[in-house]
């Protein structure tokens, strides 16, 4: 019995040492893979056909360099852990709005030498996208996708309510409010159809811009959250929600939508209209291609179209062990020819599956022109018109500038709006608080 116990104790000790050895091996393996022949990318795991066909082209451009792409999107926690351990990835793929913050903290390398040595034509990229990744005059990223926002309209709902498209005019707020009231439907005190969803807090910058104010200065250092025009924009957007049952009923109904399914809110006539990113037309084309939709441009008070753009970008972290390969990859992934090849591939895949194809919206203006000229073929009048509107509104884009405290800034205005929606504060109180929090965060970040 004693011998048996001794053996077990010995086995336990061996197990503990084994764990230690395994951890050491892992750490050493992790560091030994960081040689010149490897490109470690974070935030770009295996993706859809557009991602994979471009990745294949970019890998070929690296001439034998091994590309390591762990699964999953960019994760701040994972990235910071990698930086803290002294093993940052060679390249990251992330939300453009995060680039400024990381650049301000010195976590990303400026791409000046990358752009000049690889002769990357930055003029091909859209200016608002470039603004998002430019901090203190230096470029810290290469833009990839380009999300555009238009108003998605369910024509059936308008027909049923006897409302004309002209009623959905974001430049005429009293008229839009009246239209929303006509379109909304209640049954037994519950909302059964939303007339017009202003999409707040997410699209608050769009409403503020429509009322003539950028919520952050171009240098990313001065918030304008409690500007009277921003306060009025929030008050109006909230009034739209309140006129349609109030936040409780409004949100609880919206939470029941089958957003990505065939019985989505458009197919089920559960909403009249709402501002939405362009990628959703692609979703609708796949899930419910027979829906009768219209895309409208979001207009400001002066009736000019406006678009709040966001998207993704590539950036090279400080400490990257293979910045040359990272630069080659970024250039290849975002070049006109690569985007066009991916678009052609997607068009053929969709055609083979007898599914509609609505194109790809990229941060490369030249590529977009080529994609829509060479790969887009008519789906039906509804989707064709929507795609035209999406392409057209790209000219009227604005962005939230790169800021050293972009996360705190976004959190401040997002929280302010949820407080107003929950009835905890007035728009003025909430945005005053958000303004103070933003100022403090930016001040701390630039210390």
């Amino acid at each position: 019995m004693q011998g048996w116990r001794r053996s077990l104790a010995f086995a336990s000790l061996i197990a503990a040492l084994g764990v230690l050895a395994f951890a050491a091996t892992l750490a050493s393996a992790h560091s030994t893979t960081k040689k010149d022949g490897t490109l470690n990318i974070m935030g770009f795991g295996k993706g859809d056909d557009v991602a994979e066909s471009r990745a294949a082209i970019a890998t070929a451009a690296l001439n034998g360099t091994t590309v390591n792409r762990p699964s999953g999107g960019f994760n701040d926690q994972q990235f910071l852990a990698a930086v803290a351990s002294g093993n940052p990835p060679d390249l990251v793929y992330l939300d453009r709005q995060k680039v400024g913050t990381y650049a301000a903290k010195g976590a990303f390398l400026p791409l000046t030498s990358c752009i000049s040595s690889q002769k990357i034509n930055t003029k091909q990229y859209r200016i608002p996208a470039m603004n998002e990744i430019t901090y203190k005059g230096k470029i810290y990223g290469i833009p990839e996708f380009y999300d555009v926002r238009t108003i998605l309209v369910d024509n059936n709902v308008l027909d049923m309510a006897g409302v004309k498209l002209s009623g959905l005019d974001t430049s005429n707020w009293p008229k839009l409010l009246a239209t929303a009231k006509k379109l909304v439907k209640f049954d037994n005190g519950k909302v059964t159809r939303i007339g017009f969803d202003p999409k707040i807090p997410e699209f608050f910058p769009l409403w503020a811009k429509a009322n003539g104010v950028d919520i952050l200065s171009k240098d990313g250092l001065h918030p304008h959250l409690n500007d009277p025009r921003a306060v009025a924009a929030l008050a109006y957007a909230v009034s739209l929600v309140n006129a349609q049952g109030g936040w409780d009923k409004f949100k609880s109904f919206r939470d029941t939508w089958d957003f990505f399914g065939s019985n989505n809110e458009i197919a089920a006539d559960q909403v009249g209209a709402f501002p939405m990113e362009q990628w959703y037309y692609n979703v609708l084309a796949g899930s419910s291609p027979k829906v009768h939709i219209t895309a409208l441009q979001f207009r400001n008070k002066k009736r000019q179209p406006i678009n709040y753009e966001t998207g993704s970008a590539w950036a090279i972290p400080k400490g990257s062990k293979n910045p040359t390969a990272a630069c080659t990859w970024m250039k290849a992934m975002t070049s006109t020819s690569t985007w066009l090849a991916a678009a052609k591939n997607r068009a053929s895949i969709r055609k083979a599956k007898n599914q509609p194809y609505t194109g790809i919206s990229t941060g490369n203006a030249v590529a977009d022109k080529a994609i829509y000229a060479q790969t887009y073929s008519s789906i039906n009048p509804y989707f064709d018109e929507a795609v035209k509107k999406v392409l057209d509104v790209q000219r009227f884009s604005f962005n939230i500038p790169a800021s050293p405290a972009s996360a705190e800034f976004k959190q401040a205005w997002n929280d302010a709006i949820t407080r107003v929606l929950a009835g905890q504060q007035t728009p003025k109180q909430a945005l005053d608080q958000a303004q103070q929090e933003s100022i403090a965060a930016i001040k701390a970040a630039t210390k």
Partner: protein, 318 residues
């Protein structure tokens, strides 16, 4: 009492005995058995804890140069209104969820103890939800507790009750979360209570019955004292878990696709996460974490002190 104090060895003597123990092979064997856990504890728990304590006195952000800031982080958190909000929310949530959890689990275990052979199947059924990831529970919460179309309010509607807007009304967010999280994870405690209930000696009930005790008296004076160690264990574990609530609430209210969290749903662990991994204020987040650790430690110590009056350990007292 005086005798007990006189016979208790002092720290020096205890240390000497501890070292002397290493002369025995059995001691070495014991430590060999413990070594995997000791290794894990030092590397993955004690080490990071000490590191976080040191970090809490700095402005560590992983990326930038770190400076010693003394007590500044602790001073800041004392004046941070969000800390007060988050702490209040967390306490209210814990106060609501722990009693609900214990009562429901005990009730279910009492029923299971009576069903005989089928108890095994029900035990498995009740335990299955425990394996659901917190993220899934957060999503389910939004669906089940939907104010207009949720299963819960529909059910309440059948008995003539108009349910509140659990997920949007600031007054009902915490009760809703407490109900969802405490009920969903009740299976583990049901298993513990069931084992305790089955272990209560039958002769105690028979004696009470012979004395004419009602079923309520038998439950109060026999069952509860006999299973009090299990109740104490469940209360302590769930209090700690309640004070650390994170994933379900984060998924429901603070995720990128559900950015609708308000002051009513801000839990302390979520605030720590935001400070660390959204705003990169690791020094401040570490200070916040140490305050939570101190609070949990104090509450647990208080529970242990209070338990001396209420928890009965068979064989320990005459």
């Amino acid at each position: 009492m005086a005798t007990a104090t006189a016979t208790r060895p002092g720290p020096r003597l205890r240390a000497r005995r501890w070292f002397a123990g290493f002369a025995s092979r059995d001691t070495w064997a014991a430590y060999a058995f413990l070594s995997p856990w000791l290794f894990g504890f030092v590397v993955f728990t004690a080490g990071p804890m000490i590191a976080s304590l040191i970090i809490s006195f700095t402005d560590y952000s992983v990326i930038q140069t770190t400076h010693n800031v003394g007590w500044a982080n602790y001073h800041t958190l004392y004046h941070d209104p969000y800390v007060r909000t988050a702490l209040r929310n967390t306490f209210v949530f814990t106060l609501l969820s722990v009693p609900a959890h214990v009562i429901i689990a005990l009730g279910l275990a009492a029923i299971l103890a009576r069903v005989g052979r089928a108890a095994g199947i029900f035990r498995t059924i009740f335990y299955l939800p425990v394996m659901t990831p917190g993220v899934a529970i957060g999503i389910l919460y939004l669906l089940i507790f939907n104010g207009s179309y949720g299963v819960l309010n529909n059910g309440l509607g059948y008995i003539g009750i108009t349910g509140p807007f659990w997920t949007t009304d600031p007054n009902w967010v915490k009760p809703g979360l407490a109900l969802m999280i405490s009920v969903w994870a009740v299976g583990a405690s049901v298993v513990i209570f069931l084992a305790a209930l089955v272990g209560v000696p039958r002769h105690l009930y028979e004696a009470a019955e012979m004395d004419g005790a009602s079923s309520w008296r038998r439950f109060r004076d026999v069952t509860l004292p006999m299973i009090s160690p299990s109740i104490f264990f469940v209360v302590v574990i769930n209090t700690i878990s309640g004070l650390q609530t994170f994933d379900q609430v984060y998924t429901a209210f603070f995720n990128q696709s559900t950015p609708y969290g308000t002051n009513a749903s801000l839990m302390y662990a979520i605030y720590i996460f935001q400070q660390a991994f959204t705003f990169f204020k690791f020094g401040y987040a570490s200070a916040l974490a140490w305050i939570l650790f101190a609070i949990i430690g104090a509450i647990t110590a208080l529970q242990i002190i209070v338990s001396r009056r209420f928890v009965y350990y068979e064989g320990e007292r005459s």
